[in-house]
Symmetry: C2
Subunit: 357 residues, 2 copies
C-alpha cells in the first residue's frame, strides 16, 4: 500500500525543510516495504495575501479525504490583528481534531550545563485552553478591556493524559529493548491549580484520574504533579528527571520552547500533531525570515518530525531508522548547520543523514 | 522618622527568612539616619486552618493604616480547591493595588553555561490576567467544562509598562554611576498576540505606546517585543541580552521562575510587590516544607527583597548597602546554604552579610 502524505511548507524556511522531509521518506530502504505519494498543499501568510485565507478549504479537504499523514513547515503571522487572518496551524489542529501535540526533547551529548542525558517528551493539549480564541473587547471605566476565555474540558483533559500515559508505555517498551530498564516511567501533570482552582483544577484531577487506569498502573507508571512556574524552574535545574510531561495547550507551548533551549537549538526539536488515526509532523521552529533563502535551515527538526509522524502511523520500524540516522549524524557532529555552530547547508545535512539510513 | 514595616512570615521557611529580613533592617548603619519599627502580621495556610481565613482583615487594615512597607515570606497552599481558601498573596496584591511585581535576576559569577553576566529584571503585572480568578464550571455534552477569564485592561497594561520604563531608566542611572555605559536600556514586551489578538494584543500595543513616552524615548530606551514561547527559549539561549522584561501576570510568573534557574537557585531571587507609595518585599521561593525547621533556608532572596522594598520606598542608599553586602558574600562564595551547594546555616549567612554592611 502507498501512503499518501500532504506537504504544507507554509512560509519562510518551511519551504526549505519540508522538501527535506519528502526526500527522507523517498530514501527509506525498500526493505521496509513502504511506498509514499505526495500532494502539495497551501497554507500560511503568503497564501493569505494571495487568496484572503491562510488555510484554504481545499487543504483541509485533501488532508481529510486523501492523506494518511502530513508534514507542516512553519508559517509567518502578522503580529497585529489582521482582519480575516487566523493561524492556520491552530485551525488545522482543531479542524482535524489533532488533540495532542507531542514534542520530544533529547540531548545530543553531555554538556557542561547538562552533564546528564536529557530525554523527555512534552505532550501538549492541542485543541482548547486559551487557544479557543474566544475574545471580546469593550470599553471599561478606564479605557479598553479585553477578555479571553480559557476553556478546559474533562474530555480533552482525559484523552490528552491517556495518550501521555500511552507514550510513557511506548517509551518504556523501547527502553526494555535497549536495556535501559533502570529508568522509571513517569508522567508529570502540569497546571496552575493553586490559582485557577476550577479550570486547571479540572485539568489536574482529570489527568491524574486518567493516569490511574490499570494499564498504566500495572506497568508502574509514576504520576507526578507540578505547578507550571515551578515546572519551568525544575525543567532547567534537573531536566534529566523528567520523562513525559503533560500540559494544557498554553503551558505546553511555553514549556516546549523552553525545553528546546536545553538541547541547544530549536532546530533539533520535532513535534507531531496527533489525532485518532492521523498525524501531522511539524518542526517546532518558526518560519525564520532572517535566514530564509540561504539554504542553511537545520533540517533535523523536520526529519525527526517525519519519524514522529511515522510512529503515530504505526510505522515504528521506519521511524526508528530515521531517528538512528539523525542521531548518528549528531553523534559525529561534523556536519552542523549554523544554529548548531557549524557551517553546513541544509542539503549537506540531509545527504549525510540519508547515507546513514 | 521611623519607618514601620509589617512582617508577614506565612508558612514553612517564611518563618525563618522573614526574621532575617528584620535583622538586616535593624543592622543598617545609623549613619543612614533610618529607624524601623515592626508589626507581626498573620497570613497563610496555618492561619487559614486556625481562623478560617488565609488573610485576616486585620492584616490588610494594619498594612493600610500603619505601615510604610512590608515583608512577606511564603505560604503553603492546598493543591485542590478548598472551600474558603484563597491565596493571601494574590489577594494582598489586589487589595493594596500593588500592581507591579518586580523580579530582578542577577548572576553571581560566570558559569560554563552562562559565561556572560546576567542582569535582568522581570516586571510582572500583578492584578489581572487569569489572576482575576473568575471561573465557572458547568456540565457539557461530554463531561465537565471549566472556564476562566483572562482579563487585560488598557489602564493596567499602561501603568505596568510605565513602571517598567522607569525601572529601565533607574538601572541606566545606576550604570552611569558605575561606568557601564556601553549597555543600552531596553524593555522587552512579552505577549502571545499571535494567538490572543485582542487580550494580548491590547497588552502589547498599550505597553508599546506607554514606552514611547518622551521620557523613555529621550533617554534612548529601546522597545523590544517577544512572543512568550520564544521569550522562554531566548531567555535561556541568550539571557545577557535582556534588560527589563515586562509581561502580563501569568507569563511573568512562569518567566520569573524560569529566569531564577539561570542564576542557580530560587533562593537568590527577590521580588517586590509595588504600588503607588507602598511595597511588599517577597522572596520568589515558596514555603519549602521539605527543609522547614532545619535552619538552612537561603536568606539571600529575602535580604535582597528588603533592599528592593527600600528602593521603592525611595531609600536607595540603604538598598545599595544591602545589595553590596550580599554581593560581597556571594563573590567570596564561602558561606553558602545547601541550595547553593554549601553547608552554611541561614543565621551564618545573615551574620556574614551583616558584617559586610
Ligand atoms: C505559531 C503559533 C500559533 C504556535 C502555537 O502557539 O501553537 C507555535 O508557537 C507552536 O508552538 O506551534
Ligand atoms: C503562590 C502563587 C499564587 C504565586 C503566584 O502565582 O503569583 C507564586 O507563584 C508567586 O510567583 O508569587
Amino acid at each position: 500500500r502507498t501512503l499518501r502524505i500532504g506537504l504544507i511548507p507554509g512560509d519562510g524556511i518551511g519551504r526549505e525543510v519540508i522538501p527535506a522531509g519528502r526526500r527522507i521518506l523517498e530514501a527509506l530502504p525498500t526493505s521496509l516495504g513502504l511506498k509514499f505519494s505526495f500532494v502539495d498543499l497551501d497554507a500560511g501568510w503568503d497564501t493569505f495575501k494571495r487568496t484572503g485565507t491562510a488555510l484554504p478549504d481545499q487543504t483541509v479537504e485533501t488532508l481529510k479525504k486523501e492523506c494518511d499523514g502530513a508534514l507542516f513547515g512553519a508559517v509567518s503571522s502578522p503580529i497585529t490583528a489582521t482582519k480575516g487572518y487566523s493561524s492556520p496551524i491552530v485551525a488545522l489542529r482543531k479542524k482535524l481534531d489533532l488533540y495532542a501535540n507531542v514534542r520530544p526533547v533529547k540531548s545530543v551529548a553531555p554538556t557542561p550545563c547538562f552533564p546528564d542525558p536529557i530525554d523527555l517528551v512534552i505532550v501538549r493539549e492541542n485543541t482548547e485552553d486559551l487557544y479557543v480564541k474566544e475574545e471580546k473587547t469593550y470599553d471599561g471605566p478606564n479605557g479598553k478591556v479585553a477578555e479571553a476565555i480559557k476553556r478546559i474540558t474533562e474530555s480533552a483533559s482525559s484523552r490528552i493524559a491517556t495518550i501521555a500515559g500511552e507514550i510513557a508505555l511506548r517509551r518504556q517498551r523501547v527502553r526494555e529493548t535497549t536495556g535501559e530498564t533502570a529508568r522509571k516511567s513517569m508522567v508529570t501533570v502540569t497546571h496552575k491549580s493553586n490559582v485557577m482552582s476550577q479550570s486547571d483544577g479540572l485539568f489536574r484531577t482529570t489527568a491524574r484520574k486518567a493516569l490511574e487506569q490499570a494499564k498504566f498502573k500495572d506497568a508502574g507508571v509514576i504520576i507526578d504533579d507540578q505547578i507550571v512556574d515551578s515546572m519551568a524552574y525544575k525543567l532547567f535545574r534537573e531536566p534529566s528527571f523528567y520523562d513525559v510531561i503533560v500540559a494544557p495547550n498554553l503551558y505546553g507551548d511555553i514549556l516546549s520552547d523552553a525545553a528546546a533551549a536545553l538541547v541547544g537549538s530549536l532546530g533539533l526539536v520535532p513535534s507531531a500533531n496527533v489525532g485518532d488515526g492521523f498525524a501531522i509532523g511539524e518542526p517546532c521552529h518558526g518560519s525564520a525570515p532572517d535566514i530564509e533563502g540561504k539554504g542553511i535551515a537545520n533540517p533535523i527538526a523536520t526529519l525527526r518530525s517525519v519519524a514522529l509522524m511515522l510512529e503515530f502511523m504505526n510505522q515504528e520500524e521506519a521511524a526508528a531508522k530515521i531517528y538512528q540516522a539523525v542521531d548518528a549524524n549528531l553523534a559525529e557532529g561534523k556536519l552542523l548547520t549554523p544554529d548548531m555552530g557549524g557551517k553546513a547547508k541544509t542539503d549537506e545535512v540531509v545527504n549525510d543523514i540519508i547515507k546513514r539510513l
